[in-house]
């Protein structure tokens, strides 16, 4: 996972609330066997509408999604975050996230920042008055800037740390690699081994 500190990216005013993971990516995409390439599934139902915000040329390279309240509810599918990530989103802001979705974001290197309802509306209005405007996301100081707006966002300390270090769950475990090695050095000889293959 990439380390995140400060970045600039085109913001999308996503005026939808109660967006569940099935709207983020429908179940049909769950049959795939890869862990990447889910960008085509992102909001695939909404995207059938030519007027949908992501279909507008100004938002082609969007990296920051500003959504309404209750984003990522419903099934716990990790595919929802994969779809956002694969599409190019590095941060999502909303007044409220579903817990599992929020934690999945942290594991996949996507910022899920909580901002107030009032700030959400301010950002929407600003982005709509200047479509394609870039937002500056400043993780260390937990601020998102857009033109003259400077808005604080919430993110828990642990997730902030892992995002800025670029650590996924495996990365965190591997910080203890010496302890794993030490454990393995004591592993008894009778314990099972699948290799070399025996008995056939």
């Amino acid at each position: 996972m990439e380390k995140i500190s400060n970045f600039n990216g085109v913001g999308v005013p996503f005026r939808y609330s109660n967006v569940d993971t099935d709207q983020i990516i429908p179940a049909i995409y769950l049959k795939r066997i890869a862990k990447t390439g889910y960008e085509d599934g992102l909001f695939s139902t909404l995207r059938q509408d030519p007027d949908f915000v992501l279909n507008q040329p100004e938002y082609k390279n969007a990296q920051v999604l500003v959504a309404g309240s209750d984003f990522g509810t419903g099934s716990s599918r990790e595919h929802a975050v994969w779809a956002l990530r694969d599409y190019g989103f590095k941060a999502v802001f909303s007044p409220k996230f579903a817990d599992i979705f929020r934690s999945n974001c942290g594991k996949q290197g996507v910022i899920a920042g909580v901002i107030s309802n009032a700030d959400t509306v301010k950002l929407w209005e600003k982005m709509e008055s200047e479509p394609g405007i870039e937002l500056e996301v400043d993780l260390p100081s937990q601020v998102v800037r857009c033109g003259e707006l400077e808005i604080n966002f919430d993110i828990d300390e642990y997730t902030k740390w892992r995002l800025s270090e670029g650590l996924d769950d495996i990365g965190i475990t591997l910080q203890n690699e010496d302890k794993i090695e030490e454990f393995e050095s004591r592993r008894a000889a009778w314990r099972p081994k699948t290799l070399p293959v025996k008995g056939d």
């Binding site: 066997i33 393995e184 009778w190 099972p192 699948t194 025996k198």
Partner: protein
């Protein structure tokens, strides 16, 4: 004096790599990682994406089971998603150098049958697999847990898992089973008693004289269904039956390693005076054959009983789910369970597809004919079980009876391959889940033991072996 520990706590202690601080989970070492085609493709893809390797390919083994066909196995897999998943497993295991048992191989079969058969599953180890019925391996006195796809990736990369602590529950089954009553009936009775959520957060330890009397196959059947009570794992302390089963299997320890292992294995019992967070008691002497009437494994009754009325439940939520279940199952309260006619019988799945299960069923159907209008499918748990059964002539007994004799796999347990129970058809099934649509769209499942399956196949209605004696 040392702290008194339960069996599960001993295994946790002996696999602790890093103790979690401030509420963080403990990091637990994994001795054996079993993989199959459904839950592993994205895990391998994740490794590839991050440029990671498998930490211990020598503790990892793959088999094809969930999607594989059970007939015409020489032909390419027809269903595109199934074919893709199986191919992905073959490609991934080749790329990463993981041992695989593919369709046609002697050790191919349901992952939870293959581990024990190879002697890889043994007492005192931790086992994980991206499949909820991994609890099966607990029958050996192992701590065995089902995991999700991201955890599969985690174990591939680190051979460890961050795990939250569990609570412990003792399930004491005292007494002796009557003839015709078997391990499956014990576990169905347990789930009916504690409910499908009753084990949530717990590791169950099955104890008592009735458990000690069971073969390894029977213990596996019980541990297998721990997950249907919502438990994280289920286990049985190892004893002479365990050691005898294991000794001489391909990957069982040998010589000095065996002696050393035995020394440790003999300590693998809950200490006298250790406390469980919860204890429940089941009287084995009183048990009848058990069958389910509803759409979750907790909705079961004695085969001598009747379809219950929704009003007989105390909780409104139970009443409601009973009502829905009866509608789906097309059953009327008050109907005698033994009057329920079935269309098909499925003998298979990781719950009941081992050699002992096949023998028990074959013993009853030998020389008899399948009831008029019924179909029956027998699906051995692994190719090895199939070969062993054939060497004993069991295939012939089943075929003469009128059943289909198939190749190994999960088959109609979940119907990911072409083996399904037909729409609105009623099945007596030795598998573990009777969920809505589990065995096929609108399929109606009654979970039963292998001998009840056999007696039912003979009579056409849900039957106990004792019903065969005139």
């Amino acid at each position: 004096m040392a702290e008194k520990l339960t069996l599960a706590e001993k295994l946790w202690r002996d696999h602790l790599v890093v103790k979690g601080e401030d509420g963080a989970p403990d990091l637990i070492y994994i001795d054996l990682h079993l993989i199959h085609e459904v839950t592993s493709p994205q895990a391998f893809d994740g490794l590839r994406l991050e440029g990671r390797d498998i930490r211990r390919r020598d503790l990892t083994i793959a088999t094809e089971d969930h999607n594989t066909p059970t007939k015409d196995i020489h032909l390419p897999i027809a269903e595109p998603t199934s074919a893709k998943q199986v191919q992905a497993l073959r490609d991934n295991t080749e790329e990463y150098g993981v041992r695989i048992h593919s369709l046609g191989d002697k050790n191919q079969g349901i992952v939870h049958v293959v581990g024990p058969q190879l002697g890889l599953t043994m007492p005192g180890i931790t086992v994980v697999c991206g499949d909820s019925h991994t609890s099966t391996h607990g029958a050996f006195g192992a701590l065995a847990m089902g995991i999700g796809t991201s955890e599969v990736e985690h174990v591939l990369a680190t051979q460890t898992l961050p795990l939250a602590p569990f609570k412990t529950m003792a399930i004491n089954v005292e007494g002796s089973l009557r003839p015709g009553v078997s391990a499956k009936d014990i576990i169905l009775a347990i789930i009916a008693k504690i409910g499908t959520g009753g084990g949530q957060g717990y590791v169950l330890e099955y104890r008592g004289s009735a458990i000690r009397e069971l073969s390894m196959e029977g213990r596996m059947t019980i541990c297998n269904m721990s997950i249907e009570a919502g438990a994280r794992a289920g286990m049985v302390a190892p004893d002479q039956i365990t050691f005898d089963y294991l000794k001489g299997r391909p990957h069982a320890p040998e010589g000095k390693d065996w002696d050393e292992a035995m020394e440790y294995w003999k300590t693998l019992q809950t200490d006298e005076g250790a406390e469980f967070d919860k204890e429940i008691y089941i009287d084995a002497d009183e048990l009848d054959p058990f069958v389910t009437w509803g759409t979750n494994p907790g909705q079961g009754v004695s085969l001598l009983g009747e379809v219950p009325s929704p009003d007989s439940f105390d909780l409104a939520s139970d009443q409601e789910s009973a009502e829905k279940a009866l509608q789906y199952m097309d059953l009327v309260p008050g109907t005698k369970m033994k009057d329920i006619r079935v269309d098909t019988v499925f003998l298979g799945s990781c719950t009941n597809s081992r050699i002992e299960d096949l023998r028990a069923a074959a013993n009853l159907v030998k020389g008899k004919k399948l009831a008029e209008g019924l179909t029956m499918m027998v699906v051995p748990g692994s190719q090895k079980v199939r070969i062993e059964a054939e060497s004993e002539g069991l295939d012939k007994i089943f075929k003469d009876f009128g059943a289909e004799w198939r190749f190994a796999g999960c088959s109609a347990c979940l119907g990911m391959n072409p083996d399904k129970v037909g729409e609105f058809k009623r099945a007596a099934s030795t598998s573990n889940r009777n969920f809505v649509g589990r065995q096929g769209k609108n399929a109606r499942t009654h979970l039963v033991s292998p001998v009840v399956a056999a007696a039912t196949a003979i009579r056409g209605t849900l039957s106990a072996p004792s019903d065969l004696e005139d």
